[in-house]
């Protein structure tokens, strides 16, 4: 790839401070017009939280507007039994390939990294195609431990349809986002009044996928991109819809997202995967929230190809620390990382207790990296 010139790189269009300030002022005015606090909205995407934290956007958001990070980190919501399946398979001597973030996610008796340290073979790959390439070079079975939302599931589906070598199979922990929004909306203690939906997932599903949700729950949904101005503009639209009492879907990422989405990708996704209910770590049982291989691809399904015995992992008592982890409540938007007694102490990126500290898209990891949310607005304004 070619790196752009100085000028081109500096002129990143969607990071203009003046426009950012104008949007923030509009947001302040709109939130004020609603006339109560807090107005709580949720985004369900680690990349949104990354950008919000990276650019320090929380410090220009209205104090009365609470932007909660929901269950938008696929690594974080991979449930303990799913991690256990990977660990058990690796301990049984089957070679595994997975994304780097999955290595440290704790299961009932340790993580894949622990299994690897004890001799199991786990390869880190950056994409499913890299795993397929690796399988082609090997004379043994290779299981791709697949995680991620519909965006990454489409990539897995495409490789499966392309015809991987016979020694390749998939242990799917893929998740599907739209159903979990229903779960959050139905939580009795939820305060969420609207959702900011992830632009990249909507590129595939189309924004139309949220229409039934809006009709059922009478909550607005706005699809937004990932640059600072995308996010601010998305929030402005969302607060407008809340103020107007109009539950509707709006698309603030039209340069990528259409109503129908990517029909070819959807066709591939639903040809390879079927939705199945299952637990999301720390959240709840999510009907249709998991993506599993359809019967047509049973021969590529590691769960059917191997006898995965997770029961022997249960002999290990869960670590006492895990019981104090608040990841679930944090992902449901009910608690903040700083409410957790482990955050930044026993739980650190190098030695995570909860999954939210593992992935670079996890709430706790992002807070840890970007210093949380202290009040910084006025610091240094009166200089001696």
């Amino acid at each position: 790839m070619t790196l752009a010139s100085d000028e081109e790189v500096r002129e990143l269009k969607f990071r203009d401070p003046a426009q950012g300030k104008a949007l923030a002022e509009r947001l302040e005015r709109l939130t004020g017009e609603i006339g109560r606090a807090p107005v709580a909205v949720m985004h369900v995407c680690g990349s949104h939280e990354q950008a919000i934290a990276r650019f320090g956007l929380r410090h220009i958001l209205p104090r009365a507007l609470e932007v909660i990070m929901g269950p938008g980190c696929p690594v974080c919501i991979t449930d303990v039994p799913e991690v256990d399946e990977g660990v058990a398979l690796a301990q049984q001597g089957v070679r595994l390939a997975t994304y780097g973030d999955m290595l440290k996610v704790p299961g009932s008796a340790g993580s894949l990294a622990d299994a690897r340290a004890a001799g199991a073979r786990v390869d880190v790959v950056y994409s499913v195609s890299q795993a397929v390439e690796l399988a082609r070079e090997l004379d043994e079975e290779l299981v791709f431990f697949a995680t991620g939302f519909e965006t990454t599931a489409v990539a897995t589906a495409a490789e499966i349809l392309r015809g991987p070598p016979p020694n390749f199979s998939v242990l799917s922990a893929h998740k599907y986002i739209p159903p979990v929004m229903e779960i959050v909306a139905e939580m009795p203690e939820t305060r969420v009044e609207g959702f900011l939906a992830a632009g990249h997932a909507a590129t595939i599903t189309g924004w139309g996928v949220f229409e039934p949700f809006v009709a059922r729950h009478r909550l607005p949904v706005v699809v937004a991109g990932f640059e600072p101005l995308d996010i601010l503009a998305g929030l402005v639209r969302l607060v407008e819809l809340i103020r107007a009492g109009t539950p509707a879907v709006d698309n603030m990422y039209p340069r990528c997202v259409t109503r129908e989405g990517n029909l070819a990708a959807q066709a591939q996704l639903w040809r390879v995967f079927r939705p199945l209910g299952g637990r999301w770590r720390g959240i709840a049982h999510v009907p249709n929230g998991n993506l599993r291989l359809t019967d047509e691809w049973a021969h590529l399904d590691a769960r059917r190809r191997f006898r995965i015995d997770v029961s022997r992992l249960w002999d290990f008592a869960p670590a006492a620390l895990v019981q104090r982890c608040l990841c679930g409540e944090i992902m449901a938007g009910l608690k903040s990382p700083t409410d957790c007694p482990l955050f930044g102490r026993e739980c650190q990126p190098e030695a995570p207790v909860g999954a939210c500290m593992v992935s670079s898209e996890g709430t706790c990891r992002i807070w840890h990296t970007y210093g949380g949310h202290p009040e910084l607005r006025t610091a240094g304004e009166v200089r001696p």
């Binding site: 650019f55 190098e350 210093g371």
Partner: protein, 344 residues
Amino acid sequence: MKAQLPIGERITLKHGAGGRAMRALIEQVFLDGAETPSGGIGLAAMDDGAALRVGDRWLVLTTDSHVIHPLFFPGGDIGRLSVSGTVNDLAMMGATEVLALTCSVIVEDGFPAAQLEAVQASIRATSREAAAPIVTGDTKVMGRGELDGLVLNTAGVAFTDRVVPDSGLRPGDRILVTGTLADHGFAVLAARHKLDLQGELRSDVAPINSLVREALAAGGADVVAMKDPTRGGLASALHEMAEKSGVGVVLEERRIPLTGPVRAAAELLGIDPLHVANEGKAVLGVRPDAVNRVLEALRAHPLGREAAVVGTCITEHRGRIILDTGLGRRLLTEPEGEPLPRIC
């Protein structure tokens, strides 16, 4: 003060990464029982070097060991790195006229002689560039697998009339950097991982004692703190300076000079350039009245053309660095482990 990090049972790479873990290691293992020279600066100050009173002047002393992969990278090599590292540590204490350097070389059995000669040529050239003569040295060869290729250690001594500590900041002081940041770390990262990034990612490794001399000549006693942002980058250097000085710092991200290729590589790799190492740059704390003089002096020097004022010290948030992104604000944290593979 922040709570001390426990070291744990084993030393890991993060203990060498230049952040809090490394400071905890030094404090808990090496400072135990360390003696402070009377009236001077010793280990306990954890500055860039030591300063001993000799007559009415200060003798500044420092030492540095170097391992790096690859040994040769765009913009430099381990030889240039080892001379620059020690010369720059002396300069950061205010000692820009180097009296002498030492150089020890530990080589692995089987190391190519031609590479060693190339490293030695680079050491000699850099020592001339810095006017820092190498006056003694040592050579050892170790068995295959007992070390990885080549390890260099350099030590240096220099006299100065005034020692510039890294703890002299007070509210209102401005923070300057002497040029673009993160060039070294990204160049080494790209070379090490053979990343297919086109564009000029070149290490900035250089002895900057002559540049610092100009800044000190222009600013005099108004240059109150200096540090070279090596491992851990600007983030670690500023944290250390702010913590020791008891001030907070507001850093303006958009004023921080970065080359286009570094900007793009940082974006692409998701690595914060403020966490990435430099080997030819300095961070200066300067009293407000002297800022323009010092900035002009820096910019007049070939190694300081991109120098910039990037921040201001404040009373609140002691020991914290607040990053103003132009769009909002957040805290700049220190890298906890190695954000990159070993690079210096």
